[in-house]
C-alpha cells in the first residue's frame, strides 16, 4: 500500500482509542491525541461515514448545548467464521465485538477436497448472512479454521495429514473469489485457543489451550496474543515423546508420541483391545458417561500422559491458565484430574503457584469465536483500517 492509499494521518490513532467502546466527545479526542479540534472533526466525519463510529447519548453538560459523543459501532460490519473439522463444520456470522448473531452446523467430508468443501461453506455462509439481514458487502472478512497445519501468512495448508487435496491450496484466494472478502486461515486449535482466551480469560496474560480429541494439539497465548511460531507450527504437542518407556508406534513414524498414547483414537483402540469395542473419541465419551470402568481408567491414564507433557509446557511457558478442550474433555472430570495429577507432580512450584487448570469454558463455540476474533484483530489494526475507509 502506498502513502496515497492511506487515510489522512491521525484517523487510525483516533479509531484505536475508540475501539475500547467508551464514548468520547471531540474535545476528549483532541486532548487525548494532541490533534487540533478541526482535524479531529474531519477525521470523525470520515469514520462516521464508514459506519465504524456511531453517535451515542449526549454528554451531560453544565449548561448550553451538550457536546456530541461518539463510540465504536460493532454493528458496522460482520464477520463470517467457519470452524471446519474432518467430518463437520460450524459456521457463524458475528459482529465486530465477536458476538455470534446466527450460526449453523453442517456435516461435510474434508476429504472431498478444498473446492467442494469451501464452495459449500461459502454457500452456507451466504444463507447465514441473509438470516442475519446482511449481505457479503457487509463482510469485514472471513475467518476459517482447518483441521491441520496451515501457513497462516499465506492461508495455505502445509502437508496436512488428514486433508487429501488441500496441501498448498490457496484457501484465501478461493474464498475471496466466492465472497469478495479478505479471508484469514489458521489451524483449528489456534482459533479455539483464541476464542477460549478472548471469551473467558482475557484478563490473564498467558494461556495454554489443549485440544484432546481424535488428535492432540495446543495453542499458546503470550501477552494476549496468539503465539504462532515461525512456521505457524507452535503448540504441536501431538508428537512429543511421553516421558516414560513405551514402544507404541505413531502414524508419524516415531515411537512414544503423545498422540499415539493418549488421543481419543488411541484410547478407543486400547478399549477395543480390552474387549470394550470403541471406534472413535465419541464412543469413548459415551462409554465414560455410561460409567464404563475401563473407559474411565483409560481416560484418567491419558490425562496423566498428557499432563506429563504439559508439565514441561507449563515449566517452559508459565501460563496463568491451562484450558483443556476437545471432544474428550466432555467425558467428565477424569481427563482433567489426570492432567492435574501429573502437572502438579512434575512442574516447578513457582510455575503452578497460581496456575488454573480448567475445562474449556467456551465448549464447541470456541472455534467460530476465535475465527471471528482473528479477522477482527487483523482488519481493525492501525495499518488495515485504511481499506475500510476507502470503500
Amino acid at each position: 500500500m502506498t502513502r496515497g492509499d492511506l487515510p489522512p494521518a491521525g484517523t487510525a490513532t483516533l479509531f484505536q482509542l475508540l475501539r475500547d467502546g467508551r464514548p468520547r466527545t471531540r474535545a476528549d479526542l483532541a486532548a487525548e491525541t494532541g490533534l487540533s479540534r478541526s482535524t479531529v472533526a474531519e477525521r470523525i466525519d470520515t469514520l462516521l461515514g464508514s459506519g465504524l463510529l456511531r453517535f451515542t447519548d449526549k454528554a451531560s453538560s453544565t449548561g448550553g448545548r451538550p457536546p456530541t459523543m461518539f463510540a465504536f459501532n460493532p454493528a458496522a460490519r460482520v464477520v463470517l467464521a467457519a470452524d471446519i473439522g474432518a467430518t463437520h463444520a460450524k459456521l457463524a456470522v458475528t459482529d465486530l465485538a465477536g458476538t455470534v448473531l446466527v450460526e449453523q452446523d453442517k456435516k461435510l467430508d474434508i476429504a472431498d477436497g478444498p473446492e467442494v468443501v469451501l464452495r459449500e461453506v461459502c454457500k452456507r455462509g451466504r444463507e447465514l448472512l441473509t438470516r442475519a439481514d446482511r449481505t457479503s458487502d457487509d463482510l469485514l472478512g472471513v475467518g476459517i479454521g482447518l483441521p491441520g497445519p496451515v501457513e497462516h501468512q499465506s492461508g495455505k495448508p502445509a502437508n496436512p495429514p488428514i486433508m487429501p487435496g488441500w496441501d498448498g491450496f490457496d484457501v484465501p484466494a478461493f474464498v475471496r473469489g466466492e465472497l469478495g472478502a479478505v479471508t484469514l486461515v489458521d489451524n483449528d486449535v489456534n482459533i479455539m485457543a483464541l476464542g477460549e482466551y478472548r471469551g473467558h480469560w482475557s484478563e490473564y496474560a498467558h494461556m495454554i489451550f489443549v485440544k484432546v480429541a481424535t488428535g492432540i494439539g495446543s495453542g499458546l497465548i503470550s501477552y494476549g496474543r496468539l503465539h504462532r511460531g515461525s512456521q505457524g507450527a507452535a503448540g504441536d504437542l501431538g508428537h512429543v515423546r511421553v516421558p516414560h518407556d513405551t514402544e507404541v508406534l505413531c502414524r508419524c513414524g516415531n515411537v512414544g508420541c503423545l498422540e499415539a498414547v493418549a488421543s481419543g483414537a488411541a484410547i478407543a483402540a486400547k478399549l477395543t483391545e480390552l474387549g470394550v469395542p470403541a471406534a472413535s473419541s465419541g464412543d469413548v465419551v459415551t462409554l465414560a458417561r455410561n460409567g464404563s470402568v475401563p473407559a474411565l481408567h483409560q481416560i484418567r491414564q491419558a490425562g496423566r500422559d498428557i499432563g506429563e507433557v504439559l508439565a514441561t509446557a507449563v515449566s517452559l511457558f508459565n501460563p496463568s491458565v491451562l484450558a483443556v478442550g476437545g471432544a474428550l474433555s466432555q467425558a467428565g472430570e477424569h481427563l482433567i484430574a489426570g492432567v492435574r495429577e501429573a502437572v502438579y507432580q512434575r512442574s516447578l512450584p513457582l510455575a503452578t503457584q497460581n496456575l488454573r487448570i480448567v475445562q474449556s469454558a467456551s465448549g464447541d463455540e470456541a472455534g467460530v469465536s476465535g475465527a471471528a476474533f482473528m479477522v477482527i484483530d487483523h482488519a481493525l489494526a492501525p495499518d488495515q483500517v485504511a481499506s475500510l475507509l476507502s470503500r
Copy 2:
C-alpha cells in the same frame, strides 16, 4: 501518574516515530502524525530540551533555506547494566542504543547478601560512569540480572536457591536509594536471552536461548518480546524430567530433572566418579579443551539430554533460532552437536524446517547488553517518556 504529569499529547507519538533513528523534518512529522505544524514545532522543542532529540544535517532542498532535521539522540542518557552471577559480576555503561561504552568484571560472592553485593555494584557503577564522563544524573535507569528467580514486576528475588538473604529483598528500592535511578531486575537467563536476541537475531520473531552452566535455564522471545510468563518463571527447563529412565535425584527433591543429569555440575560429578576429577563447569570446559575423551563423551551426552527436552520446547514454541550459551557452550561443538542430534530426531519436520541451532553469538556480553535493553525498552516506551521530559 495523573493526566497533569503527562507531557502535551502527541509528544510520545512523535518520539516513538523518531526512535527508528531516521532523521525527519517538521513537515515530515506533521504529515506522518496528522499533528499541526505548530504543534509539531512545540513538541520538538520539548524533546530537544530534554536532549532526546538532536539536530542532524540539513535536508537537501531545491532552493531556499533547507529545512532543519531531527533525529533520536542515543547519547542523551546512559544505562548502568549489571549481570550478577554467583561468584562474579559484569558491569557496563551503555548508551540508549545499547552500545557498551565502558565495562568492568568484578569478583564477588552472592552469598554475602543483597546489601553488601548491591552496595559494591553501585560503587563500581559510579566509577564506570566517571570513566564514561557521565554522572548518575545522566542515568536513564539501572538494569540488573540475578542468578535466580525474580518477580520482574517488583524486582524482588523469589525463593532463589543459591542466594541466601536475597528472598523478597527490594532490589529496586535499594539501588534507587544509592543511585537515584529507576531500577529493573530480572533473572540472568532472561537478560542473556534479550541481549543475544537484540544483538544478533532481531530480524527473527521467535527465539529460545538456553544457558548451560552450573545450572540449566532458558529464555523465550515471542514476536520480539521476552515472554516472562505469569510468575516470571517461563523458561525454567532445569527441572523438567528427561524423557528416559533415570533415578538421579535432583536437589529440588524430584528425580530425573534435566539439571541433575546434564548441567555442568552434573557432568563434573560424573567425571569425578569416573576417575577424572572435576569440581565445576570451568573444569569440565578445560578438560574438554585439552581433549579428555571422557569429558567430550559426557558433554555430548549432556547435549543429547538437553536436546530431548528442547525437542519438546521446539515443538511447542516453534522458534526460528535456538541459541545455546553459558559456560558449557564454550567447550566446543560437542554440546551443540548433541543438542542438534536429539532435536532433529524428536521434533516435527515442520518445526525444524528452517530452525537454526547455534552457539550464542554474544558470548559473555549477552547479560549486560540484555540488562541495558530491558531498561531502554521500558523507559522509552510511550507511557514512560513523560518522566524524562519533566526533569
